[in-house]
Symmetry: C3
């Protein structure tokens, strides 16, 4: 694997997004993450997973400049893979701790929302579902995961506003659970993961499914239509013009 | 139209309830509002709507003294029209800003809840779903819209208590989003509406439907039974006696 | 009845769990509570119910030492009876006020969650859904009632953490509605119950069903599977070892 880095110690697997500089999400990253989590699911030595980013970003979201080169059909298939990954992590049978080392934006925020717990550095990092600000809609999977964290009304406000929230604001909204200084993020994430790892795995999984399975059942009713509408809006003239302006710093 | 006043400027339509003195809701007002919103939906110059009240009330709710003169059948038809209007505004394809210039009570509160954002004057105005205090039940549409704003538990507490909440309390509960001084209400409402109007309309509508369509789908499963039960309780002896005591100041 | 104590005055029935010292829940207690509530449902003199505990515990939850002697089949039947009781109180046609005089843990917390309003003594009492800490899962009924009170995200955090929350924390989380000093609990509970009792009973019941019936409909879709999984985990080797260590002080 070349776009993620995996290490395991004391029953905790740490998955680091490693696609400099902003961990932008493309098809290869989605595939590598999917394969990695599938292995972790059946690895008896792994009791909990930490998902974090290398560098100063957790993930800036979809790699829009690259995705604009995909055909409409390839783009649609990419979105299905990406949302399947979100749902897979959301229902992952072991605890997943999101360790937000930096900005988590749009698709990067959705990846964070699929975890069971979120820590975020208290400094400059921002978290945002800013799709509407560049004329894009979102997927039903992201919406339902957001609603689970912050409730329906705050989900509306966040999606309509599209603001870049500071750690303090994110904690207040309930989209992250814990704020820590950058230098404490590793230890604090390990501590949370160790706490999860000590629980009986089967009871944990059972409770997680009681809480989350019906969310994915609801998502699945609308998932395909939602992705098709997403693609349709993405390729509309006015939205496309906005997308073409987006640059990713390397 | 005689019971509402409509004006449009800079892509913002302002709909003013104009049925002095308390903007009590009767069949004519519901019909005029429905026709007005249907026109606004297809008017390409309108990018957002502000819904407010003339005078010192947003709306005191259903015009109970008038409705007591309806036959049971006419009253039932009126309720279907009113709840259809609530659902229509709740799913209106463009942003709707509720600009609460004064009391928003019972049916008037439900009208406010159908909007995408609520500003409220910080002075004497109260907001309340006080149906239970006079022995009436509510409709499933109002319940579901309330739950979307404040969550299930606060919805219970508000409906059981039936209290008249001040702006501060309403903000705390999450039933309104922003408190402003009376003299600032117009400008603050315009500012929010302009913010919404700048978004790509299609992406906005798509996100709104992802957030709200399933709510109306749930409402529709129970809507008719809920209205029939409402009517049944409305015409029960003890509730009717309470209703007959209600006066509306003119 | 020997495990509960019932008294009625001024249209308020008070049901006191009376199984010293911790009001641990066994089959007899569940049956007596069920019979008692069924009588109260049809007693025209009863307008509201207070559910409280004798001694210094509300209820410490299931009587695990006793239940470990049940056969797997008897234990499963007991769980069905217990969750049926939770659902019955949750949809009880009259208001039920939970008056938490002391610890409300696991099954005892679920019993509290089935009420319409919860007061809790502000002193040493703790409230907790601590099942995961001893390797047990929970039932879908408890999960859905918890979600109704605190929302999906806080429900996750509480169930994963399994912490013993103080009154202050419980109030903050929204799992209890009001904190009172021990010496004020009786009067404060009476006051809340009297407030409920004054409402029109039919309108109250109608609103309660609008808010809660769909929750039980959702529970019923998964109830049986959830109980079977609960039993399966309960009898797993590692969980059973934890259960055998649990003592109940007499």
């Amino acid at each position: 694997m070349s776009l993620i880095h995996l290490s395991t110690s004391e029953n905790i697997a740490t998955v680091v997004l490693s696609r400099p500089k902003v961990n932008a999400i493309n098809e290869s990253l989605v595939e590598e993450l999917g394969e990695c989590f599938q292995k972790l699911a059946i690895d008896p030595d792994v009791k909990a997973v930490i998902l974090t980013g290398g560098g100063s970003f957790f993930s800036f979201g979809l790699d829009i400049p690259e995705l604009l080169n995909y055909s409409k059909d390839s783009f649609t298939k990419f979105l299905i893979k990406f949302t399947d990954l979100l749902k897979y992590i959301f229902l992952f049978p072991k605890p997943v701790v999101g360790s937000l080392n930096g900005h988590a934006v749009a698709g990067g925020c959705m990846l964070a929302l699929s975890c069971d717990y979120r820590l975020m550095v208290s400094e400059k990092a921002k978290i945002s579902l800013n799709e509407l600000t560049f004329g894009s809609t979102v997927f039903v999977s992201g919406v339902e995961m957001l609603k689970m964290s912050v409730g329906a009304r705050k989900a509306e406000l966040m999606l309509y506003d599209g603001a870049m929230y500071s750690g303090e604001e994110a904690k207040q909204l309930g989209i992250v659970d814990e704020l820590v200084f950058r230098e404490d993020l590793h230890d604090a994430s390990q501590k949370i993961a160790q706490g999860f790892a000590k629980k009986e795995g089967r009871a944990f999984e059972s409770i997680k499914m009681l809480l989350r399975k019906h969310v994915v059942e609801e998502i699945n009713k609308k998932d395909k239509d939602s992705i098709l509408e997403f693609v349709d809006i993405w390729y509309s003239e006015s939205t496309w013009r906005n997308l073409e302006k987006i640059k990713i710093r390397d």
